[in-house]
Amino acid sequence: MKRYVARRLLTGLLTVVVVMVLNFVIIHAAPGDPVRIMAGMEHPSEAQMEELRVRFGLDKPLWQQLFIYMGQVARGDLGTSYTYNTPVLSLIADTLGPSALLALTSCVLSFLIGTLLGLFTARHQGSWIDSTLSYVSYFFDSMPPFWLGLVSILVFASTLHLLPTSGMVNLRAQNTGWALGVDIATHLILPCGTMTLIQIPGYLRLTRSSVSQVMQEDYITTFRATGMSEKQIFRKYVLKNAILPTITVFGISLAYVVTGAALVEIVFAWPGIGRLMLNAINRRDYPLLMGIYLMLSVSVAVVTLAVDLLYAWIDPRIRLK
């Protein structure tokens, strides 16, 4: 177990290093002068260029520049966004709350709904509900999330006039306390519903196939032979064995959901990391863009690591290796 933890930690660390190197390489390989790219303009003033040269050690050999850059990142210095004139790290920190709220809510909802539907279809294999759900899940799986967001705006906001379609709070209302909570919740419904619908099919199909696989295992035959009721076999043994893979996927999706939600955030003007990213792209704010990529990669590495360790703790086959 110790070796396993050490190995996973090492991989996580390596990932972060690789991301830093990638960032560095992309900036230097891109057409154009890195100074101009980092300054965000074709003709930065002499003072700006000088500042950047010193900051990134641009007069030194390339490999030293890499180490300077990595050192800065390691100290938490991701540079300054020139469009906002604010440190990149604090810009990203401001978006984390809204992004995490949207991501986590949709992740948990889709996990619960998807797994329950999967269990249901697994118990009713071959029924018309099963095959209908199967095609519906393919349909949602093939859908670009941002498009579903647009369609939901069309349906719920402009046709039914039911729900707010942009932002996280009603700025004019100036709500506090309970009212603020309700306000955020109503704003959350459409973006969260979109993300949830997109993620349900994965859980549904995984759970369904996982259950059918477990049902064919030898130990299920053993329990049947002992006279244990199908209900007890399912609740006590099938469930725990079948649910393990879905928990892994849940963990993995936790790591990636912020990335996946970025475009949906844009559709609904959700004040999260996706919108920050869009602004960074539109204004070619590369320090911000690189900072976002780095932070997302780090968070993916951290969450994946946490999930792996949690999984090892649940599954004795890994724990005792």
């Binding site: 032979a225 002992t226 006279g227 006590k236």
Partner: protein, 325 residues
């Protein structure tokens, strides 16, 4: 009437429009305390026979006919409720892949206690645990196995766990389905000895499904030889193995030279299993049998009794001699 009596037991697997005759009209008696080895190659229907007795064949794809009377009760037509009641208390099983015989993510002890309490719902956790530990001791396993997970044990140990599991609810009959196949010869030998010891102690009756004649020779009082779903020969192990009467049994034994002490090299039986999807009017072994006559191919051979409790499905069997090959 015998303790367990199979009468004309047949199993067809239904695959679309096709029917595979996996077991075809098998009858033999098992007396209390007997240990019967059911032996045959893969595809002989021996495992299907075992699963049919345990009623573990999927209903829509398998059609079971005939009777299997356990002290007069027909296992095949017993109501679901009575069947559940009878399982593991009267009839238990030890399956082939013991490594997969229990759930990998639950502790062995918890699973054993759960199985015990299926038929003793009134038992406390402690009582269930005590019973599980008792059976573990009976198969010479340490108490720590109770708190282990299946993958922490070796194949041999898991085999013992499977046997302990089968003993939990004091069954009269245990069906072993290729239970020792995956083990090394030494472990297999030890476990067979232990099984025989337990059997005498606890008054068990045993069906031993195996492809390995040496397992039958070492541990069974009777042997049923199956080929392509049909019973070829049935009788006391000592007699059948010493002077087999059915040409198939003779061929099968020639494939195991060590049993008879001859070092003349093994001889397989030429030919291959018939296609079980087809209706075979005559003897299923006729295409491979060196003495098959036109009659053998046309008409299903009658069972002939060689002496009380020893019979074979071949007209040549009464002649009582093994022709030189």
């Amino acid at each position: 009437m015998a303790f367990l009596e199979l009468r004309n037991l047949s199993v067809d697997y239904l695959m679309g429009a096709q029917r595979v005759h996996a077991v075809d009209g098998v009858s033999f008696p098992v007396e209390k305390g007997d240990s019967v080895g059911i032996v045959g190659e893969s595809g002989s229907g021996k495992s299907t026979l075992g699963l049919a007795l345990l009623r573990l064949l999927g209903e829509p794809t398998a059609e079971v006919r005939g009777e299997a009377l356990l002290e007069g009760m027909d296992l095949l037509t017993l109501a679901e409720k009575d069947l559940q009641e009878l399982r593991w208390r009267r009839m238990a099983a030890v399956f082939q892949k013991s490594m997969n015989a229990l759930s990998p993510v639950h502790k062995i002890g918890k699973q054993m206690a759960d199985v015990y309490r299926v038929h003793h719902p009134e038992a406390s956790r402690e009582q269930a645990k005590q019973r599980a530990l008792e059976t573990l001791r009976q198969v010479n396993l340490a108490e720590r196995v109770y708190t282990s997970y299946p993958h922490e044990l070796s194949g041999g140990m898991m085999q013992r766990v499977s046997i302990a599991l089968s003993l939990l609810n004091h069954p009269d009959l245990i069906i072993f389905d290729e239970a020792t196949t995956a083990l090394d010869v030494v472990t297999q030998g030890q476990i067979l000895k232990e099984i025989q010891y337990l059997e005498r102690e606890l008054g068990l009756t045993r069906l031993m499904i195996t492809h390995d004649i040496s397992v039958v020779a070492a541990s069974c009082s009777h042997v049923a030889v199956m080929y392509a779903g049909r019973l070829m020969e049935y009788g006391p192990t000592a007699k059948v193995l010493r002077s087999p009467r059915h040409p198939y049994t003779q061929g099968l034994l020639r494939a195991y030279p060590s049993l008879r002490g001859e070092k003349t090299g093994m001889q397989g039986i030429p030919g291959a299993l018939p296609d079980l999807k087809e209706e075979i009017p005559g003897c299923v072994f006729a295409p491979r049998c060196p003495w098959a006559t036109e009659d053998c191919r046309q008409r299903r051979p009658e069972e002939v009794t060689i002496e009380a409790g020893w019979r074979a499905s071949c007209p040549r069997a009464v002649e009582g001699r093994e022709p030189d090959a």
